[in-house]
């Protein structure tokens, strides 16, 4: 995917606007899902996806993308989620809306996932989503969040351990 992205990005920088449409079609569903599962607000997530792509378009001058387009979009979206929740009525990301996962076909799974996400602070929820839902590698995540790979490994271990302990108490 990265090679295709890079090609599209280069094409866009050389004036091919349809390349940006291809990038949008390829990445907007995953980006939107990430934002939605992170902040739990559909409208806000849609705005953030649009803003992320607008920021990407603004990078056209001088071709200023230092990492992969996909990572760049996720980092931008993630920063926008945090900035927006800080700015708009000081809303915390700790509380998620109740219906944000309601589209999963199995209601029991919805309940379990809701419980898992609600039990995690935003930074851990974000890490779990990047790794398990979006499939970013440990090195990618370390680069995106500007932390060491060892830090990513330790945090992932703690999340998994905490969820296991929570499961144990529920049983």
């Amino acid at each position: 995917m990265e090679i295709v992205d890079l090609q599209d990005w280069q094409d866009f920088c050389h004036g091919d606007n349809s390349a940006m449409e291809r990038l949008y079609d390829r990445h907007s569903p995953a980006l939107f899902s990430f934002c939605l599962y992170l902040c739990g607000d559909r409208t806000k997530s849609e705005d953030i996806v649009q803003d992320s792509f607008m920021s990407l378009i603004a990078q056209r001058e001088g071709n200023k993308i230092s990492r992969s387009v996909r990572s760049w979009l996720f980092v931008t979206a993630r920063n926008l989620v945090y900035n927006l929740s800080r700015r708009v009525s000081h809303q915390s990301l700790d509380s998620l809306s109740e219906d944000h996962l309601a589209t999963n076909s199995n209601p029991d799974i919805n309940l379990i996932i809701d419980r898992i996400f609600s039990s995690l602070p935003p930074d851990e929820r974000e890490l779990l989503l990047l790794r398990e839902h979006q499939g970013f590698s440990v090195s990618d995540i370390a680069e995106m969040l500007d932390i060491t790979k060892e830090n990513v490994r330790i945090r992932l271990y703690r999340i998994r351990k905490r969820i296991q302990e929570k499961e144990r108490t529920l049983k």
Binding site: S33, I112, L156, Y157
Partner: protein
């Protein structure tokens, strides 16, 4: 590497990156005799399965920007349009100026028009005289 905590850290790492052969062998050997670590591995794999089962959500379709008024199609009923055209035609005909009249009836000889105007003038002058006399 002796404690279960260390092995569980290794289980977690193993889910994200390949282990060395030595690490993998030690872990496999430990898992055969440790129920707690197997439970942790199972839980971590379940969590992965759950999160991966989350569908990619789709956004609402983008709203279309309304077209400018000059491009909009206006649906008017035919009788209203016909009545409007008729009214315009009547008002145009009733407000024709003499010059426009001349232009329209260009086949009429100029002296006939002058004669007509003279008759109209005579009639109006006589009408004024009559009113003055009364």
């Amino acid at each position: 590497m002796n404690s279960c905590e260390e092995f569980q850290k290794l289980i977690s790492v193993c889910l994200d990156e390949p282990l060395t052969t030595e690490q993998q062998n030690k872990l496999d050997e430990h898992l055969t005799r440790c129920v707690d670590c197997r439970t942790f591995q199972e839980s971590a794999l379940n969590l992965r399965g759950l999160i991966r089962s989350l569908p990619f959500q789709s956004m609402a379709p983008p709203l279309r920007r309304p077209s400018p008024w000059w491009r909009r199609k206006i649906a008017l009923p035919f009788p209203a349009v016909a009545a409007g055209i008729l009214l315009l035609a009547i008002s145009w005909l009733t407000h024709l100026s003499p010059t426009q009249f001349e232009r329209v009836d260009s086949n009429i000889e100029p002296f006939i028009i002058i004669e007509q105007i003279d008759i109209i003038k005579l009639e109006s002058v006589s009408a004024v005289k009559l009113t003055n006399e009364n």
